[in-house]
Symmetry: C2
Subunit: 355 residues, 2 copies
């Protein structure tokens, strides 16, 4: 497949609290794209962006100004704030990356253009209904193997491309504590569709998605400042997105591309943040595994609102936090729709946005 740069159709979203020196290494791959920088923490601090990059930057004051009271749905002092960037983008595709992620090398020693691989992943179909043992059948040199039903070979649209990490693997705090020296050195040369009905731990470090297809479900939840949980922002988005993709007949791919993750975060700090998540996920995951969305939920927004109600009813019993999260999910959708009025019904939407 030819490389499609999608220059005018993709934004790169970066949450940060520091100067973006890491962009220097990405210059050959990112410079042609527009960046949306979501500054976390103290808004009076100045974030330096290397010369030559085309960007817009939002700090907490900007978020409060743009969203008003609805800004409450955007986390503070947590990289979950990045989802504000998804909301203000006007592009079809989003790539989001952490500021401690660098360009990785493939086994031949060549720099990996992560964005190019994500675009390839998003532009070719997914195959969630049957497993192909030679992995992505749309890749050069591969195909559907014997026994793959012909009726399923068209595949479905790919909504999410989940990339991986060389060097520091994305481990939870207990695993970090137990294996402080483990590094991921294995380059697995594959991309595959996560089958329908199977949940996965989605990491926000190196992630691309189709905003038009799944954007409103890419909410990173309430984390960090004032919340009883952290480091579950991307997990939350991953569970919600996977259930909605399964319901709407969309695909999620994982595997290539790799980035080089430079530095492990502090496992002691992480343990404190993850503490509740580690407990709660034992109930949250079965909740999502068993979730049924109604036939009436035909759009991502409708699915997400239905999901928010179930979160309130069923997870609210675990902790009042989930009632608050459920409300925030609704607020997020309201804010999304305000900033992204549906094209088909633009008069009504503009009206709503001007309220």
């Amino acid at each position: 497949m030819a490389t499609v740069p999608l220059k005018d159709e993709l934004d790169i979203v970066i949450p940060t609290i520091r100067n973006l020196d890491f962009l220097e290494m990405w210059r050959p791959f990112f410079e042609q794209y527009h960046l949306i920088i979501v500054q976390d923490g103290d808004p009076s601090k100045t974030i330096k962006v290397p010369d030559g990059f085309d960007y817009e930057l939002y700090n907490r004051n900007d978020i409060n100004k743009i969203l008003g009271p609805r800004a409450s749905c955007i986390s503070f002092k947590d990289s979950a704030c990045r989802c504000f960037g998804y909301m203000v983008s006007k592009k079809k595709y989003i790539y989001t990356i952490d500021d401690d992620c660098f360009v990785a090398k493939d086994p031949s020693g060549k720099d990996i253009n992560a964005l190019e691989q994500h675009i390839k992943n998003l532009l070719c179909p997914s195959t969630p209904y049957f497993f192909n043992t030679l992995y992505d059948p749309f890749r050069d040199g591969a195909d559907f193997v014997r026994g793959y039903p012909f009726s399923l070979r068209e595949g479905v649209s790919t909504a999410v491309s989940h990339g991986l990490w060389l060097n520091i693997p994305d481990y939870d705090a207990p695993t970090q504590l137990v294996k402080p020296l483990e590094r991921n050195t294995r380059y697995v040369d594959t991309v595959l569709t996560i089958p329908k009905g199977t949940l996965f731990p989605m990491c926000g470090m190196n992630l691309a998605f189709d905003r038009d297809l799944i954007g409103p479900a890419m909410y990173f939840g309430l984390m960090g400042d004032g919340q009883p949980i952290g480091r579950y922002d991307d997990m939350w988005a991953g569970w919600c997105c996977k259930v909605i993709c399964d319901h709407l007949g969309l695909g999620i791919k994982t595997g290539l591309p790799y980035i080089y993750h430079s530095k492990a975060s502090n496992p002691f700090v992480n343990l404190k943040k993850e503490y509740n998540g580690i407990f709660w996920q034992e109930e949250i995951i079965p909740f999502f595994q068993q979730m049924n969305l109604s036939k009436e939920s035909t759009t991502v927004q409708k699915c997400y609102v239905e999901m928010a109600k179930q979160v309130n009813e069923k997870l609210g019993k675990i902790d009042p936090y989930f009632v608050k999260l459920s409300d925030a999910m609704i607020t997020w959708i309201e804010a999304w729709d305000e900033l992204n009025p549906p094209a088909k019904d633009s008069a009504k939407a503009t009206n709503a946005a001007s309220k």
Copy 2:
């Protein structure tokens, strides 16, 4: 993990119609194991086996003698006959390989010991209930990633290890015709569990399994001589095994090891054999996807008999072939139990076998 040779616990099953010269290349890896050779076609032909291998060989006359009228469940003039070897084995593990498969090389140029990798796969747990984005968490240098529920990290026993093929990929006849020159050159350095609820096309070319856990479901169906279908023997076994593994809480892994598949079979001949399979699988696969086995089916045999009844009832409508296949499935289980009397109830079983 240390390499466990399992010398006394594994048989290698090879279906063939010719002299087994291909074993010369496998000598360093296979010589310590016992071979069960299932000779297909003309029983008067002599199959030469290279010196130094420890083997037993069964031709059609032997099969008829051992199984009597029940020999009808073993296919003739089709490599599906290999499953007779699974039945007569007394070992815990089976590795089966086609006689046109040679030793492949890993990217460093080293010969791949396929059997060693299969044993590793079978000896470490599977994780069918949640997807791990760094693939097999039990492999050296890997683990469960952040967000993987701790309650699921023990995994389940692995029943099947499905290996892959470099050079000639396992394509169906239409794909062979369209892409006659395609070769698989991509070495994907991974093993992964096929998630619960997801079916896959199981290829019998390079396959290992735990006979104690799943043996009675490894029936390769009625193919070849006198049957309206061929080249779906391993697919049939794969669908049945996957549904039963899901029901009983067992795992199936796919990926490493690779073998080198030397020669594509004739696509015109294959098209004739596959013709019905290509049509029928469009109904068979949804049938297996929707299959529910009852709580009473607590053993592989009970699952398989229940499945046979559903094949009769539901697939029998497609073609009378499935009624015949359903009967053969029952016959297979009867023959299996006769040759493999349950240890717990050996007196009764011995009695049945001596009838």
